[in-house]
């Protein structure tokens, strides 16, 4: 494992930034450093999945990645012309609910993986979700909810997308404490999870599948 990935795994921001600078000075391609940072982040994710790391450590790793990205992005633009994103996701907390911790964690982890996120915020009405899907054409729409009263909103949004002729073109994923406690077969979505990391991995997979299937 490289120095940068190792520093990320150790949750050492100073060492990660130092390793980034050192590597840039020695002529390493900034894209290669982003890839190495993602390896470190993935390893943090594995420790989180195994229960060795907790949510705050996952968040810390994402923060360090963001700090590294702030250094690397201008270098990437300089060297390669643009910072490319691999896909697009719209996120929001459903109407009547203003909890956003899970949504924000998913957002930061997706951005670390080079996925563009359009964050609609909290208490998002159905019409706003539908409009966002229409305008941004994301591969995935993610909805977050914590409250018991929010479950019906998720299905309402899915039905509205269907009525607008947009459901076929977008994968729906829902997250938040409440989805872990209900019969998920009643949810009109493609996937439901209380695990932010698992959700992010699935979103990445969906985006990758869509990219592959759209290639000639």
């Amino acid at each position: 494992m490289g120095k940068l990935a190792g520093a990320l795994l150790a949750l050492d921001k100073k060492a990660a930034l130092a390793a980034t600078e050192e590597a840039l000075q020695s002529g390493t391609d900034p894209l290669a450093l982003v890839d190495e940072a993602r390896v470190g982040l993935a390893q943090v994710g594995e420790k989180y999945d195994s229960g060795e790391f907790f949510l705050m450590e996952l968040m810390r790793a994402a923060q360090i990645f963001q700090a590294i990205a702030q250094v690397l992005n201008p270098k990437i633009v300089e060297a390669h012309g643009a910072v490319k994103t691999s896909g697009k996701v719209v996120l929001g907390t459903v109407a009547g609910d203003i909890h956003d911790l899970g949504k924000n964690i998913v957002k930061i982890l997706l951005e670390c993986r080079g996925i563009e996120v359009i964050d609609l915020g909290v208490d998002v009405k159905t019409a706003k979700f539908v409009e966002a899907v229409r305008v941004h054409a994301p591969q995935v729409l993610g909805m977050s909810a914590l409250l018991t009263a929010s479950v019906s909103e998720m299905n309402k949004n899915a039905e509205a997308l269907e009525a607008a002729g947009l459901r076929e073109g977008v994968k729906l994923i829902v997250g938040g404490g409440i989805v872990g406690e209900i019969d998920q077969s009643n949810l009109k979505v493609d996937y439901a999870t209380v695990d932010a990391n698992a959700g992010v991995r699935l979103i990445e997979q969906w985006i990758s599948q869509r990219s592959t299937s759209s290639q000639p």
Partner: protein
């Protein structure tokens, strides 16, 4: 044979003695008012109506009543314990969802500079331009009313309830852990960054803030009649810290101040209801020490997502535990689901006393009342004593 009053039963549970049956005390909050057809405005601002609503639905009340002193801080302007106008989605609707909404807590990064807070004081710091503008539409008379007269009116209404029904209060005062306050006033991402990048400041804030919160809690409890009104001497201490703490972060940043606050209250004659959300299973060996150095029978650990069977194994005989019928089950489940869940909880946790059957966090306003009644019935049906 049931031969205890509700208060005696709760007190026996605190003392980890065997009561006449399993005490049961779901934390009800909005649901009695909702079932009685009150608006949210009425629930928050007219305590007499709220008490009447609760009397009307006495059949869903267990062995204690949560008078929900959080409502006092919903209307406060003084930047108190995290559930005030600074941190709430400060809109008091008439209607419940979907038309309206209940006040919701959410994070707003308000504290930008710890030193500024220390210099100006916490309450003055809250009066900055980041507050919702609507707060400034309130008059001085309004401010004074909700800080003083309203508290007395609220306490009087609930004192009347206790005198009429013999059902004790679940709590008299409430307080927030400084780390929970930082979650609300810095946001969880900023707080995570602070823990790693300026841990000294986090400690300084917690050290500085815990007494402010603890004293406020005792002040409210005295208004509610601590020492006179059964249950009013209990401090409801929430929310168990920000989610996702590792054991290392928990032991360094959460626990020392949680223990200090428990110690402060108990040594001054109060009881403590530690309402700790999220999953504290990884921290049970630390929590085992919550009553160290304190007289026995003064603390309840109210667990939301913690493994209750494990909690009983680790904490049994040390401190009373409470919990934890899931909120979603109370809304979407059946009375049979609730009955089975309660049966298992009682099997795992009730032996030898030191257990109160209850809800995971609060009972949602949209719960099926039959599910709450199933919980109350289960306490008698599966009585192991």
């Amino acid at each position: 044979m049931l031969n205890m009053t509700k208060f005696e039963r709760i007190e026996a549970a605190y003392r980890m003695e065997v009561p006449d049956r399993v005490p049961v005390a779901p934390i009800l909050n909005y649901i009695p008012g909702y079932l009685a057809g009150l608006t949210i405005q009425e629930i928050l601002t007219e305590p007499e109506k709220l008490v009447q609503a609760t009397l009307k639905h006495i059949d869903i009340i267990g062995d204690s009543i949560d008078a929900d002193q959080l409502l006092l801080d919903h209307l406060s302007m003084l930047g108190r314990g995290g559930w005030d106008q600074v941190t709430l989605d400060w809109r008091i609707f008439d209607d419940f969802p979907p038309k309206g909404n209940i006040p919701n807590l959410y994070e707003k990064p308000i504290i930008e500079n710890y030193d500024d807070v220390f210099e100006r004081g916490f309450a003055p710091y809250m009066f900055n331009r980041k507050l919702e503008n609507k707060i400034w539409e309130r008059s001085i008379d309004d401010f004074l009313y909700y800080q003083h007269e309203y508290r007395e009116r609220y306490a009087l209404a609930w004192r009347g309830f206790v005198e009429q029904t013999g059902i004790p209060l679940l709590k008299g005062g409430r307080a927030c852990h400084p780390l929970d306050l930082l979650q609300y006033y810095r946001g969880i991402f900023n707080l995570t960054m602070d823990i790693y990048e300026c841990p000294g400041k986090v400690h300084e804030f917690c050290e500085w803030m815990y007494q402010y919160e603890a004293l406020h809690a005792m002040d409210i409890a005295m208004t509610f009649g601590a020492g006179e009104v059964p249950g009013a001497d209990t401090i409801f201490f929430y929310n168990g810290g920000p989610p996702g703490m590792s054991p290392e972060i928990y032991d360094e940043f959460y626990w020392p101040y949680a223990k200090k606050m428990n110690d402060l209250w108990v040594t001054r004659g109060f009881k403590v209801w530690n309402h700790w959300d999220n999953d504290h299973t990884p921290f049970l060996e630390t929590i085992k020490h919550v009553a160290d150095g304190l007289p026995k029978g003064k603390i309840v650990m109210d667990f939301e997502k913690t493994d209750m069977k494990k909690a009983k194994q680790v904490l049994g005989g040390t401190v009373t535990i409470y919990g934890n019928v899931p909120s979603a089950m109370l809304v979407y489940g059946t009375p049979e689901d609730v009955d089975a869940y309660c049966k298992q909880l009682i099997t795992d946790c009730a032996q030898g006393g030191g257990f109160i059957l209850g809800s995971e966090c609060e009972v949602p306003w949209d719960s099926n009342p039959e599910n709450i009644r199933a919980m109350l019935r289960a306490a008698e049906k599966y009585n192991p004593y």
